[in-house]
Amino acid sequence: MSNDNQPELVTVYVDDREVQVPPGTNMIEAAAKIGVEVPHYCYHPKLSVVGNCRMCMVEMGMPEKDRATGQPVLDDEGNQKIMWMPKPAIACATKAMPGIRIKTDSELTRSCQEGVMEFLLVNHPLDCPICDQAGECRLQEFATDYGRGYSRFVEEKNVKPKRTVLGPRVMLDDERCILCSRCIRFCQEVADDDVLGFVDRGSYTTLTCYPGKQLENNYSLNTVDICPVGALTSMDFRFRMRAWFLKETHSICTESSVGANTVVGSREGTIYRITPRRNDQVNDTWMADSGRERYKQVEAKNRLLHPRVDGAETADPEAAVAAASRLLQGGKGIAFVGSGRCSVEEQYLFRKLADQVGAKSRALVSRVSEGDGLLISADRNPNVRGALVTGLIDELPGRELSALATGIDSGELDTVVVYNEDLTAAGMTAEQLDKITVIYLGTHANPTSDRSQVALPTLTVFEKNGSFINQQYRLQKFFQAVPGPAGAPGDLRTLAGLLAGNGLQGHPGIDDVWEEMSEAIPAFSGLRFMKIPSGGLPLEVPSRLRDLPYAEGKTLHYEPAGGEPAAV
């Protein structure tokens, strides 16, 4: 936290421990700062405070002041006298004031927590064995931590709708809902799609969707994440795997140049879900629904699992790399088409290979379309900035690969190396591709790989380590969650093999690449892969890149430097 524009900190006391927080911080956050948990349901750091669950009640006191003089009142021993309030207060709606004190573990606090827990559980179904939230459920956790441990409720529990489909991706179980209204506030305040609300009263209050509407915006699954219980569940993840089996790997969403921070949940080499990871500078605690489906590409039918040479699969990646190297050596005019979906490391090695074989043209496939102003930017390539910083390209990719097309038509280019892109989708015709030699590196088969002389399988973002540079020039890293297909040795190794085949020995490890990059690229000087913080690292923008006409408009935590770009 920088102190330049930060106002004075105030001192508050949590369980007699001193905490310094900015004024306006609520007491849940103040306590969290020293690792004390105030249990809460309705409060969410990125939503407005409503104070309706009452779980966060604590005993609270203020330093006593003389009414007439405003002087602090001292007790017999000369210490500040504290006025403890006779009734508990909710910590989420209590702002830090100088000298304010809370007790999170006093008898009064404990009895409040126990009472609230008891009320919350009165109508709660015994659903944990079939509830997807089990294992990461705040109700389960707080019931064990703060509940009384047994039920005194002998009456019949309420019956509410179950298995309600709220939208294409979200299912609701009303019996489990504890009416915290987080999901409602999310739809109002973040997604700007006000479709959820409560109907009926008292213990019959029921969460429902506005008649005739659906919870179908592209951020709907965030309600599942923030629902503290298992009331809202993801239809994709529902009943597929228990949360406690999932290995969590930090990753970056490749939906667009926003680079939302994510957690990939996998078990034994299979990915089950992608959830957002909090980063207050990038995506807060949200991510788009579309990004969560990306794991499906890992096991897609058209996945390239083995290298192909002249259309025939081979089991030997080395031989395929050697074949590609021979083609590169025989090429008279070679063009390189890189991808904004590749990591910084791959783009760097790709550029190095292009330099090494004397490529006549280097290009990147543009993926500009409309942004949604929230967490999907106009540039759907996650890493165009990486290609700029590593020098793979010098200016933003054009809408079409016109230089490449002209080069092929004039016969000047006879070989093209394509990295994870489909040239036909980027505007080239099949005839143009048939005229040249194509070397394809990529994760999936496509019309370009079908026309290639050598196709080398590469890994998806879930199967390797690497980094992206997002629209804010923030360098963010992702880690391998699952192993890649046996026939794909890894992008960096394949590229190092191609470099070696063209007379440039090197080491394929990511640390070796960073060691090299930190010397070759000023923006990375002194950096290593391991040194990139988990929340990302804002880079110094090289001056040559400062005034490029970037495609992105305003999104969460991003303002385009030169105002809104022209519409696409």
Binding site: P129, N158, V159, R163, M241, F245
Partner: protein, 178 residues
């Protein structure tokens, strides 16, 4: 320091070996007339005590409902990781659709199982029990991987004390009083 045990020389009677032979014959004769203890296994089977921990099995309730809801707690708790569950959803508009979840498939590797009984202990639905099957044989490793069907066959039906899901269905049928 070496310890030297002095052997007592045998007495005259002991040297004849007769007392030992007669003692042995007495035992033999006693068992000749005592009731038989040998069990003609496998035709005869031992009585298995109530709390015996045999092969883990899946059970149904007296209404024939499969009790396991594939919560995967047993899979989690099993120390040698013998259990593997493929969770599934019960389709709507069936007799038990209110239970929502049931295993698509269930596998226990009996070569891995150590008969610890933790799965029975942890099961929130009282669906898995170590019962009286103690002898598992087979020629290949795969034969020891008991799938759902086999586990239900071994488990059979056990009495239910709660009928939790039936009560739940009944409550839903009555609906709220308001």
């Amino acid at each position: 320091m070496a310890l030297v045990i002095q052997r007592k020389p045998l007495s005259w009677l002991e040297k004849t070996y007769l007392p030992q032979i007669l003692g042995g014959l007495k035992i033999t004769l006693k068992h000749l007339f005592a009731p038989k203890v040998t069990l003609q296994y496998p035709e005869e089977r031992p009585v298995i005590p109530e709390n015996y921990r045999g092969v883990p099995t899946l059970v149904k309730d007296p209404n024939g409902r499969e009790k396991c809801v594939s919560c995967q707690l047993c899979e989690f708790v099993c120390p040698p990781k013998a259990i593997r569950i493929w969770p599934g959803e019960i389709p709507e508009n069936t007799e038990t659709s209110h239970v929502e979840k049931a295993p698509d498939d269930f596998e226990i590797d009996m070569l891995r199982c150590i008969y610890c009984g933790l799965c029975q202990e942890v099961c929130p639905e009282e669906a898995i029990f170590l019962q009286d099957t103690f002898s598992v044989t087979g020629y290949t490793r795969d034969e020891f991987k008991f799938r759902k069907e086999k586990l239900y066959e071994l488990g059979g039906t056990l009495p239910d004390r709660h009928y939790k899901w039936d009560k739940k269905k009944e409550a839903a049928r009555r609906g709220n009083a308001h």
